[in-house]
Symmetry: C2
Amino acid sequence: MGVITIRDVAEAAGVSLSTVSRALNGGKNVSTRAARDVAAAADRLGYQPDFLARSLRTRSTGMVGCLVSDSSNPLNAAIVHAAEERLREAGYLLAVVNTASDPVRERAAAAEFRGRRTDGMLVAPGSTANEKTWRELARAGTPVIILDRDAPEDAGDTHWPSVQVDHRGGARAATRYLIGLGHRRIALLTGDAAMRPSRERIAGFREEFAEAGIDPAGAQIRIQASSMDFAQGDALVLLRDEERPTAIIALGTRILAGVLRAARDLKLSVPDDLSVLSVGDTDLAAVHIPAITALRWNLEDVGRAAAELLLQRLRGEAGGGPSSALLPVDLVLRESCAPPALSHRP
Amino acid sequence: MGVITIRDVAEAAGVSLSTVSRALNGGKNVSTRAARDVAAAADRLGYQPDFLARSLRTRSTGMVGCLVSDSSNPLNAAIVHAAEERLREAGYLLAVVNTASDPVRERAAAAEFRGRRTDGMLVAPGSTANEKTWRELARAGTPVIILDRDAPEDAGDTHWPSVQVDHRGGARAATRYLIGLGHRRIALLTGDAAMRPSRERIAGFREEFAEAGIDPAGAQIRIQASSMDFAQGDALVLLRDEERPTAIIALGTRILAGVLRAARDLKLSVPDDLSVLSVGDTDLAAVHIPAITALRWNLEDVGRAAAELLLQRLRGEAGGGPSSALLPVDLVLRESCAPPALSHRP
DNA sequence: ACGTTTATTGAAATCGTTTCCAGCTGAGCT
DNA sequence: AGCTCAGCTGGAAACGATTTCAATAAACGT
């Protein structure tokens, strides 16, 4: 007397298994009487189809795997959340695996997803180490959407579906703005330079210096291995330097926090002594006093766009809509940036 | 030429299906020669067992469902993240569903999880509307761990497994601290009063007023339907009142943000004109200037404890360890609280 | 009234695994 | 030699659905 199966329903309704199956699905080729009886019996018994058995037979699980370095990072959490909402609307279930950007864990997760026959995957790799894995997955027929990362080079001419954020454009706008205020020594604090977001930011940052014809030595780039590791101490070192930057562009909540605390410790006033610009608009940036000028992109849009791209593939409309999305980055002007102090002007 | 199945491996290794299965699993009752051949063949062919078929047969999916109102809320995100890490260590996959506290969506998610035969569930219900659902699930044999919410009344004497946070103790400590500083009119801004966290906070808040023998009219309780909805405007109304509170205890990042912005708009200095205390220690609280005194509980511990409790049940050690966890709340003293201004002292 | 389509139906195959069960082999013991 | 017993093995039956296919019944046109 365990779970109710289709067999129980068939018995209760006085029809065969096949009829029950047909009645419960499409309803095509089923007499109205049979349909009614089956529905009644299923309802009365509280029948709930077994996804496992169904999936085994139909080769489709209605599951999507999501692979991300750290789903509790607010910059990721909102993306995952939005993607989940959209996918669930379409009847899919999202399974999340955190990899801490560890290639080994990424591979393990990919293997597990494959073993579980997920219909598709949303992945934000922490390195380029596993490109082969994604390619194999894609070749095996599982749609893989890349989130704000480099898409693997594809042998063919097909474009790899991905959602990208225009970090380069954002960095250019931010840099141009600071240069316009008079800054000549600006520090950019960002993540792993090999990954797309940071690489693009750095490129945009440099481009803008070049375009303005400013001594590129003023463009101080600091790589933070992990955004979690950048503590107050590191910021202190940077700001104690004789040739300290007059403006800092800082990635994310944690690094921004480190910078702000360091500035306070050194009694540097923001924005009078130091301009601060946040990459990513978090609660902290918006509410801090002074409010922090920030680069903002719509995280929900990233998640939704990824889900949409995936659904397109899952519905087999590969040829239809766009195969990639590039989302804009806006500069939100607030109070944390000002012309550099007189003593620091050229 | 689809996926490699156990049948292909059997053929390649020159043994039967059953032998392959035995060799790949326990390895009991298998000759070393067969084991070697099977392992070699499986390896060569890149065989990957099909979780679906396996689950269908063994009645165990290695999946855990997680039901939460909003996984992007930092107070939840860290919990989900920690739970996922612990569960994956133990070989389980976590599927997350966001319900926005909607009872209908909660029921739908529960039904889907049941249909997918998840081995267990972590749920943080948004109301008491679905207690029957959780009870049914539990009666059907699926372990259900409740996260920081009221556990359904159980008919029997068994204790419902849950992870609770000592919000009452935290609220008492915070209130006692503020009263000790001299505050007599304190506002508590929290969520749905019917839910455990808020209910406990309110109780602790009142208890402390009573114990100190202070006019309970000074304990101003404001319920925020959703922590997302509390904007600056609402805080302004509260603070413009003639009898405005001299201290505010605010729930979470969003409400705290609203309070801080409102204080700034009214040119109220924190902590000189207004003491602010955050319920929940977020980046914003820690980094804000002045740094916000906060109630802190360890979100990772909540997630880990929930995972541990669930794993215990999944391993069938129901009798073994503790069936519930109560996690402490600490008061982190920072700079946002001070004695009320003279004009406001009794 | 009779052949021909058309709408329903149920039996059986299938998905890929695990597991029960009976059979076989060879070693050990008397 | 005969007997038992343990260790391996392969065939076949689940698990719970979907789907093909042939059979039956009903409707239809002439």
